[in-house]
Symmetry: C2
Subunit: 362 residues, 2 copies
């Protein structure tokens, strides 16, 4: 098997062992004589998968009992809207911290259903190169929540220390860095994330919501869009994305077997250190726009001295089966996405290639 080095920004690489397991049992799941794709979401066989996925997530992240874990369809983009629909209302405000395109999208949806404030933005001329400092945050103590995007895939920045918001709960879009390391969930009222970068395939969104926010969430919105509907029915109000949840479960088992999130963090830190190490060794050649202490451990973005060199870089990368290195169309340049399941060996090959390329073309 000639496996590509997959640096896709999402959907992204999955553990080979998980894919092999899926392949092996694709025609006969757990001795049922049916594929996991063909079994009822009300069957005992599926319920075991569903509940195990929840339980593993709870265990790995250390999620206390007062948080509900939901598996929803529609993508994180649907959560941009469900969050304010459920939590805002007349006279209720929320603070949004804008650090890139995804937080802008979340804010745009919030404006359609409420009156959110911008508590901070690091935008300069349409670009974002850093996470704001605590003292820059103009926080409203009466806000219903403070919304952040924990990692910004397009601009390559990431919150390393979460903002202090007092008694106001944080709501975080963690689509691109959930599970990259352990963290203290207690300041968070709600966390959501599409699975397709750090915990599974496209098609399922994880929502972790604290009991107090759930209890206060609205009941005058469409039934299917209420968090209460899904919490009450354990995400089985309607047919869930069975296959995607099944893979999430296998992925979580894979992480646990290897040592859980402290192991995952070690791996991710080593990968990021290797790539940023090369970038910093050739600062005139690999031009990283992001301030060092805002650098993302998930997506390293950089430019080369010219667009010709960038094209040449991509061309030679392609020959080595490096996939997904082109930066987002809105910013150009390069992007190395090194989510949880990008192997260290792929990062090592890329780093060596980057060193050689810089030496030859500087």
């Amino acid at each position: 098997m000639n496996r590509a080095h997959n640096f896709n920004p999402g959907p992204a690489a999955l553990p080979l062992e998980v894919l092999q397991r899926v392949q092996a049992e694709l025609l006969d799941f757990a001795g049922t004589g049916m594929s996991i794709l063909e079994i009822s979401h009300r069957s005992k066989d599926y319920e075991a998968v569903h509940n195990a996925a929840q339980q593993l997530l709870r265990e790995l992240l250390g999620i206390p009992e007062q948080y509900h874990i939901l598996f929803l369809g529609g993508g994180a983009s649907l959560q941009f809207s469900m969050v304010p629909m459920n939590l805002l209302g007349p006279g209720v405000s929320a603070d949004y911290i804008i650090t890139g395109a995804w937080s802008q999208k979340a804010w745009k949806e919030a404006k359609l259903v409420g009156s959110p404030r911008i508590a901070a933005t690091t935008e300069v001329d349409g670009k974002f190169t850093r996470i704001p400092k605590q003292e820059e945050l103009d926080l409203d103590p009466n806000a219903r929540f403070v919304h952040i995007t924990s990692n910004n895939t397009i601009f390559g920045t990431q919150w390393h220390t979460f903002p202090h918001t007092g008694s106001v709960p944080i709501v975080a879009d963690m689509s691109s860095d959930l599970l990259w390391r352990p963290f203290d969930i207690r300041p968070f009222g709600l966390i959501y994330g599409g699975a397709q970068k750090n915990l599974g395939p496209a098609g399922v969104t994880v929502v972790i919501i604290r009991e107090d926010l759930l209890a206060a969430s609205r009941e005058d919105i469409p039934i299917i869009l209420r968090y209460k509907t899904h919490a009450k029915e354990n995400s089985l109000y309607n047919t869930p994305p069975v296959f995607a949840i099944y893979i999430v479960k296998l992925v979580l088992e894979w992480i646990k077997e290897r040592g859980g999130l402290s192991w995952m963090e070690q791996e991710n830190r080593a990968k990021a250190a290797r790539i940023y190490g090369v970038i910093d060794a050739f600062p005139e050649f690999y031009r990283a726009p992001v301030e060092k202490d805002s650098r993302s451990f998930m997506n390293a973005v950089f430019r080369l001295p010219s667009e010709e060199l960038e094209a040449k870089f991509l061309e030679e990368a392609k020959k080595r089966r490096f996939v997904g290195l082109k930066g987002h169309r809105s910013v150009g340049g390069m992007r190395v996405s090194m989510y949880n399941f990008v192997p260290r060996a792929s990062i090592e090959e890329l780093a060596v290639f980057m060193e050689d390329f810089a030496k030859k073309n500087a």
Copy 2:
């Protein structure tokens, strides 16, 4: 391989050849060196799948150009809400025809965002045993649309001739019978269906919307819930459920290779004729509540003379690896779901078993 006879009400059986193909290429999709689960939804490889799935659906159903085909997440239950959110508004009414639990759910969501009317209901004491006749429909000529559920999985009824609604477009939930046969789409303004019964796995919902309804759809609702958003971006506004769409594409190819929807209809008619043939041969034993001309070709429901016999039936069925025959918890009894990909051989084995069981236990 000891494959079960899968009569699950959904998620349901898929073609064995499709599952084998998915299995064979699970680690390396189209020579990319990556799984279909790992490739970017913006890649050429995925776009080819996405567009082929659309094109095949258009071809098989004979969908004219003025209809857009969307692939959305969130299930058909999200469409219960998106339909009225997009198409209703102040002073705009819609007619709902209630034929079972699913149309009731759709109507309930519509009431939350508009003022829908009930144009007909066949409910008697909480049960539904028939589709209404044309003369029973109290249709409002000024309605924005007439909503129907084309097949009722729980009560086992199905529209065989669609209602005449004049110039008012029909909006249909076809989650459980889309693709069971060819039909004239022109009276329909919008069709939606979760894939997990008749066209693929759980996780993707197909929406087919006519240009005039799309053009008139609302723009003051959340961006992610607007049909316009998804139509404009060819269902790539956000990450679509890649894997589910990939399987839909393979399933559509499978149908096409075998002769398209006229072949599919022949198969489905033969399967339903076989099962209802047994039921009608033992009318005192297999008690079918549904009026004959309302019988569903997808779900045959019946009761046995006693709950003891029903338990015995299920027990013996289980030994023969017949799966999913228990009726919905709200109605009890038996249900034979015989969607598109339930093989005729499975139906034949079940029919023979039913004959034997009736003879031995009558």
